[in-house]
Point group: C2
């Protein structure tokens, strides 16, 4: 029943995707302009919907951070409108010629960027994802299925309704955006089993969502754990090391690209560890070290084995003293999540080995792992950060929401 209802709506989305793939940039930008206007005009309506969600959240005993993420204000709605306008200004990736060449037989081959088709975005709490992900997906020419968290149902529904209105205003198929309001958990189980209806699932959420999507037959570009390391090499500039480590841990500890584990070369640990430890402690960071680290940091707690595999997302840091580059690389390969890892060193050969041997989506030399982000990379947008190895890896912009086809021009060529 639920399944047939969903697959019926997905079939309408498929038709819309075919139409949208043909829409010129100008038409897609008109949707986004209309959406920005509608967001500003509908501020009161959005806030009213948001109050419903907040009232429900107050009845449950949610954490403050949860309520904070859920809460909209006129300023946050204005920020959404501006984000939509910025997406409208981005270069349309669809239609870009990626490569073109001519074969000896005269065939002219072009590799042309095209939308992926139907993309489902499954996300939690933060309602601005409805607008961001919807706008980015449509800009790249994809039909979008949105499935938000039940705690933001009224807000997300109101925002998705505005996208529908904007599509209609620009004379595009309103099924280009499908908002699934049914809060039944079974919905995700159905979506992940429908590869013929959905070309890609982009999950944006934590471990519960990861668990729910396990066994997905639809391809995913997941954004899962971020267990990021910084390795301070014996040839590190300690002043740089100090600033980078502090930034990687403290600038925003709740995000995936924050440092969770600090590795320090034994040769430099006595000079470096006490001073960074002191600075981190003053900032409120709880320090958990291996035996050698604890010996150098008065009052540090001993790390348990599971600390090396934990994404704290909090003011906690695991610290280990290692024998050198080789041990650091080996440790990262065993305990890292492949999202972002950094080395601090002034030795060029060591830097190169780290870059080559650490198999993470983003590998840094002398910079903070916190730069793993679509905006910081200059993509002008952020579709999430892929922890996948296929299709797209690391920070994703608009381009990662596309695929390609080959267009071949001949004048009668046949194959012999």
């Amino acid at each position: 029943m639920l399944e047939s209802e969903i697959s019926e709506r997905l079939q309408l989305a498929r038709v819309a995707a075919r139409e949208l793939a043909q829409a010129p940039s100008e038409r897609k930008n008109r949707v986004l302009a209309a959406l920005a206007d509608l967001l500003r005009l509908s501020t009161e309506m959005i806030l009213a919907a948001n109050r419903e969600d907040l009232a429900r959240a107050a009845e449950s005993s949610h954490r403050d951070a949860f309520v904070e993420r859920l809460t909209l204000t006129p300023e946050r709605i204005e920020a959404m409108a501006q984000a939509v306008e910025q997406i409208a200004r981005l270069q349309d990736p669809a239609g870009e010629i990626i490569a073109r060449w001519r074969r000896p037989n005269g065939l002219a081959i072009s590799q042309v960027r095209v939308p992926i088709g139907v993309i489902a975005i499954i996300y939690e709490s933060r309602p601005n994802v409805t607008i961001d992900a919807g706008s980015l997906g449509l800009k790249a020419g994809n039909a979008i299925i949105l499935r938000g968290g039940s705690e933001a149902l009224a807000t997300n529904g109101a925002l998705a309704g505005l996208i529908g209105q904007a599509l209609t205003a620009a004379n595009l198929n309103p099924h280009s955006l499908t908002f699934i309001s049914n809060p039944d958990r079974e919905v995700v189980q159905i979506l992940k089993r429908l590869p013929e209806c959905i070309d890609l699932i982009i999950p944006r959420g934590g471990n519960a969502l990861k668990g729910a999507l396990e066994g997905s037959v639809v391809p995913m570009l997941p954004h899962f754990d971020g267990i990021c390391h910084t390795y301070v090499d014996r040839a590190a500039d300690l002043k740089k090391a100090d600033e980078i480590c502090f930034n990687a841990k403290c600038s925003r500890p709740s995000v995936c690209n924050a440092m969770e584990t600090l590795l320090v070369d034994e040769k430099i640990a006595p000079a470096f560890l006490p001073r960074i430890a002191e600075r981190l402690r003053i900032a409120g960071v709880e320090l958990r070290g291996d035996e050698r680290a604890c010996a150098l940091i008065p009052g540090a707690m001993p790390a348990a084995p599971e600390d090396w595999d934990t994404e704290y997302l909090d003011l906690v840091l695991a610290i280990k003293v290692v024998g050198g580059l080789e041990e650091a690389v080996e440790f990262i390969s065993r305990h890292g999540s492949g999202l972002a890892d950094a080395i601090i060193t002034e030795d060029e050969e060591t830097a190169r080995r780290f870059e080559r041997e650490v198999d993470s989506a983003t590998v840094y030399v002398n910079a903070s792992t916190r730069f793993t982000d679509g905006y910081e990379f200059g993509f002008g947008a952020e579709t999430g950060i892929s922890t996948n190895r296929l299709h797209a890896r690391g920070p994703m912009g608009l381009r990662e929401l596309t695929t390609y086809k080959y267009v071949i021009r001949g004048n009668g060529q046949v194959r012999t």
Copy 2:
């Protein structure tokens, strides 16, 4: 039991993949050179193994085509050796800088091509896939899992053994190539459930394999149906149309890029259909038409509804008369498999609309669909033809066996 045995071997493959990713091109090419030598030196041994498989095939009542594909000869072994030498000469995709740019804060970002990791190739009958796929995968720096058909077990095992010897000769981890000789069908069911051990499955086979891999949790680059159309437009040059249609159907009817359905514009059908039909019939092609096509082709059989969705892989052709471009595009979107479709027209605007609106991996104007092939595209190799939309689409070469990572160089940058 079987599962734990397989996952143990896959863990060794994972370690080998990490080592292989660091191997310089020269080392990987040394493996391939050694393999070419070993193939020539071991011709007798390979033929003996092949005779075992052929004897077993003779006991079962296989079709001639099956036995033909399975049979090796000294010439075919020499061709394999030459193919390996050609792969050795190809540019190594690993390490290529795909893009590089500098951010206003001074960070230098490089997008670097790297191997995918562990790739499982599941294939049927033709034993040369063991050598081709193994060589291509290793050249791109991936550890390869090979699972061939049980009918070629002895031959595939002998060939895989030579790859192992070549790896050892070049001082590379022999677990870079894992040949799974257990013929139990359960093996494929286990492989498709192990995303933590296998990064990618490339299936090369027919509908039975497609069915076995249904529900795979490991990402796939499948090569499934090829229901290819050629649409002869009212503005077609009939001489070109004649040559292209004949080539697309008759040059090798058993392959995926052969034409299965011919669409003809009603305006040109009376002039075109009788002549191409006559030529095809002389070549032994069975013609099945819709009502209007049958009226123009004496003796054509009426097509049944399922004809429009059938990959004949044989000298059979479905023919339909359509009202024009729009109906042709709509028909292809409903019945095509998205692999290769062509238009024959001299009208530029019509050609452009077809290119834009037909959503297939390869879209042709005035050329035969038979060109959908890695060699014909100039890739110098053929890893299969992907019918997937993500990661790689259409003909695949070496590059499609890679992913990328970002390497970011700073001099102390932190995020504010």
